[in-house]
């Protein structure tokens, strides 16, 4: 299907999807976790309850690894626009490059500048200043999210520009319109909640693992673990329903500004009123129909327009060369929705168990929560696939085509970089994941014993000697 001419472009796209897909996990993790850490430290300062401090130290180690991986995978992104997407950079750089620079100046430096204090400085600066540093890092992650989503949203729903007739470049005309473009408020809310929800499920799963382990050995998990588990489930109870509302609003916004994307997501070929919602089907781009479709009557119109008589768009409304690859977005969207539903159910189940005072000892619930550890991140990735693949065949929606955005690179160069990135990422981030799991298998109390400071450089000596004792 892919001919030789398209192959470099296809590799460049796969490479971008791969590198950004790996990268996005870490900033999302950092955003959610830094908010959680701020909460923990704040509670510690307020209540003087050392359980909060122990939890803070415990998750701070995780944060330092996740943040580090986010930084190194992010540098790749800052250069990949130039290496692989020179056409895009040359034309859209005057807008997206400027937004990215603001991100670096307002967020990255702030995070990096205060991270050292947050990790190593508790005994140097005192509690208040340390809390300030934690807040600064958290604020940095949120500012970073704001700029990058402004930039991404502008590519989806561009406005505030004029196109230079001579060079084809996007010339900024109104910066406020560029930043506060129509999809930005919905996208940033959806993304922010996704980050919180993802981290809540990770924390909950770590708690569930310790609770199950304690149960197995016939002991009761200590109160720090129970506190952590309880906090994370409250977080799920609050954010899961909010996320569903935010997602619904984001969908309405997309229907208004990018109806062709919605048509691809829904697998709808002809525009119609009283449309069904397809639960399953295989959209066929050649025959222009969705095979093996199973749907619920009227639900499609109702979900998209909040009216069973509402009119939904169809892919045939758009020329064939302006349609997103429906099979990909059809499934990524449905996986996201299914995971979202499961997450909501987990939250409701936790409320029920909490009421019956079985939150910490219901084996099936604990196992389900453990299994759901990656659910938030999976849903987040599926969401990104939906919105980014759904933007195709454009980089700047309706204005700049993906094929006109690529760099003039030889197939050999692209193949080299693709293999190189896959090898490096799998090895490095695979090692990182193993290291995270190892960290989470320790209990928060162990984190407390290591020293009087939060993070001690060279604390490996301790770990190594512990291992020796064990063996």
């Amino acid at each position: 299907m892919v001919n030789d001419h398209d192959l470099p472009l296809t590799i460049a796209r796969i490479q971008f999807a791969f590198t950004v897909g790996v990268h996005i996990i870490f900033p999302a993790f950092s955003i959610g976790l830094s908010v959680f850490l701020t909460f923990l430290e704040g509670m510690w300062l307020k209540t003087n309850d050392n359980r909060y401090l122990n939890l803070f130290k415990y998750w701070l180690k995780v944060f330092s690894i996740v943040f580090g991986m986010g930084v190194v995978s992010g540098i790749v992104m800052a250069y990949e626009f130039g290496t692989n997407w020179a056409g895009f950079s040359a034309k859209a750089g005057p807008i997206t490059g400027v937004l990215l620079s603001y991100e670096v100046m307002t967020a990255f430096f702030m995070e990096a500048g205060f991270l050292g204090v947050m990790l190593f400085g508790l005994n140097r600066v005192g509690r208040r200043m340390h809390f300030f540093a934690t807040c600064a890092v958290t604020t940095g992650t949120l500012i970073s999210m704001t700029w990058i989503l402004a930039s991404n949203s502008w590519m989806q729903t561009p406005q505030g520009y004029v196109i230079d007739q001579k060079t084809g470049r996007f010339l900024p005309h109104d910066w406020l319109a560029i930043i506060f473009n129509p999809s930005f408020p919905y996208r940033i809310t959806h993304m922010g909640l996704a980050a919180m929800l993802s981290v809540a499920f990770t924390v909950a799963a770590a708690g569930a693992w310790h609770l199950l382990k304690a149960k197995k050995s016939g002991t009761q998990a200590d109160s720090t673990i129970r506190l952590m588990f309880s906090l994370s489930l409250w977080m799920i109870v609050i954010t899961a329903p909010l996320q569903i509302i935010a997602g619904d609003m984001h969908g309405l916004n997309t229907l208004k500004y990018q109806p062709a994307k919605i048509a691809a997501v829904e697998g709808d070929w002809t525009s119609e009123t009283r449309a069904p919602e397809l639960l399953f089907g295989i959209p066929n781009m050649k025959t222009e129909r969705t095979d093996y479709a199973i749907g619920i009557p009227l639900l499609g119109s109702f979900i998209l327009t909040h009216d069973i008589n509402g009119k939904v768009p169809g892919l045939k409304d758009y020329p064939a060369d302006q349609r997103a690859p429906a099979p990909i977005v059809f499934f990524s969207f449905r996986i996201m929705i299914a995971l979202g539903g499961l997450m909501l159910l987990c939250g409701l189940w936790s409320l029920w168990l909490r009421r019956r005072q079985h939150l910490f000892d219901h084996p099936l619930f604990l196992r389900v929560i453990l299994t759901m550890a990656p659910a938030g991140f999976l849903a987040l990735l599926c969401g990104w696939v939906t919105t980014e693949v759904g933007r195709q065949p454009w980089t700047v929606y309706g204005l700049l085509r993906t094929k006109d955005s690529a760099s003039p690179l030889a197939l050999s160069s692209l193949s080299f970089s693709m293999l190189f990135f896959v090898a490096v990422y799998l090895f490095v981030f695979g090692s990182g994941l193993l290291m995270l799991i190892r960290l989470l298998r320790a209990t928060p109390e162990a984190a407390d014993n290591t020293s009087d400071d939060i993070m001690i450089l060279g604390s490996h000596h301790h770990t190594i000697s512990q291992n020796k004792d064990a063996s």
Partner: protein, 339 residues
């Protein structure tokens, strides 16, 4: 060309050179410490070396992201031609920086000595390779990039020449020297003594590199030579080699004495002078030898909007970066690490 369209790229060229200089110096000693892992095998010394940079290296590396992002926003024509031109060394450099960056965390949290040894090697190899690639990119940049209609039109391996390899080796040497002099300042006892010793050897190597690159550069393109010998440029150019000699002299003298920070400052001087020399050489090209700063610049509204932010934010960034350095100041020793 109207006033702003003429002056803004000029201001931005200054800011970009500043950001690159800050990056080269700050991450230069981080990378230098990684390079020195090849020679310093003692675990306690390695821990001390890492501890001198652990709280600040992340901020140092951010200057590189700023450099990339600024090119993207302000000189998109340079960003979109230079990055494809140096595709291979940039990709390798990014991979090397990934190894270097995660090795910081992973070596601390390693669960076994073997595991730790592996990440130590990763830290060393990543730092060295990243430094070498940066030098190759610099050399390839100075020797010029083939463009057509404002886009890169050369081959994937054009950058690889004896000159760019020399530049690669020079940068590795220079970063190692930045690392040793940084450690002279920030460590004590045996490690400090060893670093003073290394600094001497490396400074001889470094001055040879500076001479070799400086003598070779003017003959890469006819205009380069012209820049240096034409009047009145020679008046600006002449002090550069003199100042290099002066800084070298001062460093050599202070390495034998109790001076802690002076050698480090002298090496910084060398780097800044080299960069100034480079700027004089290639002026006014952003993509030598075809595209000038004005050819590759963003439209005025982009440059202006970003300038407002930069003027406000850079001093603030500098402020809290200095605070962070201040907080973790002083000699780092085995016992008082971060207690």
């Amino acid at each position: 060309m109207s006033g702003l369209a003429f002056y803004l790229p000029f201001i931005w060229a200054f800011i970009v050179i500043l950001a690159i200089s800050v990056y080269v110096i700050l991450d230069g000693f981080d990378l230098g410490i990684g390079i020195l892992f090849a020679f310093e095998k003692k675990p306690e010394h390695r821990d001390i070396m890492i501890n001198t940079i652990a709280p600040v290296w992340d901020g140092n590396e951010t200057w590189m992201v700023l450099g990339g992002a600024t090119l993207f926003g302000v000189f998109p024509g340079a960003y979109s031609t230079l990055l494809p031109a140096f595709y291979i060394p940039i990709i390798i450099m990014l991979g090397a920086l990934i190894f270097r960056g995660v090795a910081f965390e992973f070596r601390i949290m390693a669960h076994s000595p073997n595991h730790r040894a592996f990440w130590n090697t990763g830290f060393m190899a990543g730092s060295t390779l990243a430094a070498f690639c940066q030098g190759c990119i610099l050399g390839g940049y100075v020797q010029g990039v083939h463009t057509s209609h404002g886009a890169f039109a050369g081959g994937a391996m054009d950058w690889l020449t004896p000159f760019s390899v020399l530049c690669g080796l020079s940068v590795v040497t220079g970063y190692a020297l930045l690392g040793t002099t940084w450690l002279v300042w920030r460590t004590s006892d045996e490690l400090e003594a060893r670093c003073r010793h290394w600094s001497k050897k490396l400074s001889i190597l470094m001055i040879l590199c500076i001479i070799a690159v400086s003598c070779w550069t003017p003959f890469l393109h006819a205009p380069y030579l012209h820049h240096w010998i034409a009047f009145p440029n020679i008046l600006f150019g002449l002090p550069v080699p003199l100042l290099v000699a002066l800084a070298g002299f001062l460093m050599w003298r202070t390495l034998d004495k109790e001076h802690a920070i002076t050698p480090f400052l002298c090496v910084i001087g060398w780097f800044l002078l080299s960069l100034v020399g480079l700027a004089i050489t290639i002026w006014p090209y952003a993509v030598p030898p075809t595209l000038t700063l004005w050819d590759v610049a963003s439209p005025v509204p982009s440059q202006l909007f970003q300038l407002v932010g930069t003027v406000i934010l850079l001093p603030i960034i500098t402020g809290y970066s200095i605070y962070s350095y201040y907080l973790f100041r002083g000699k780092v020793t085995k016992t008082d690490g971060y207690h």
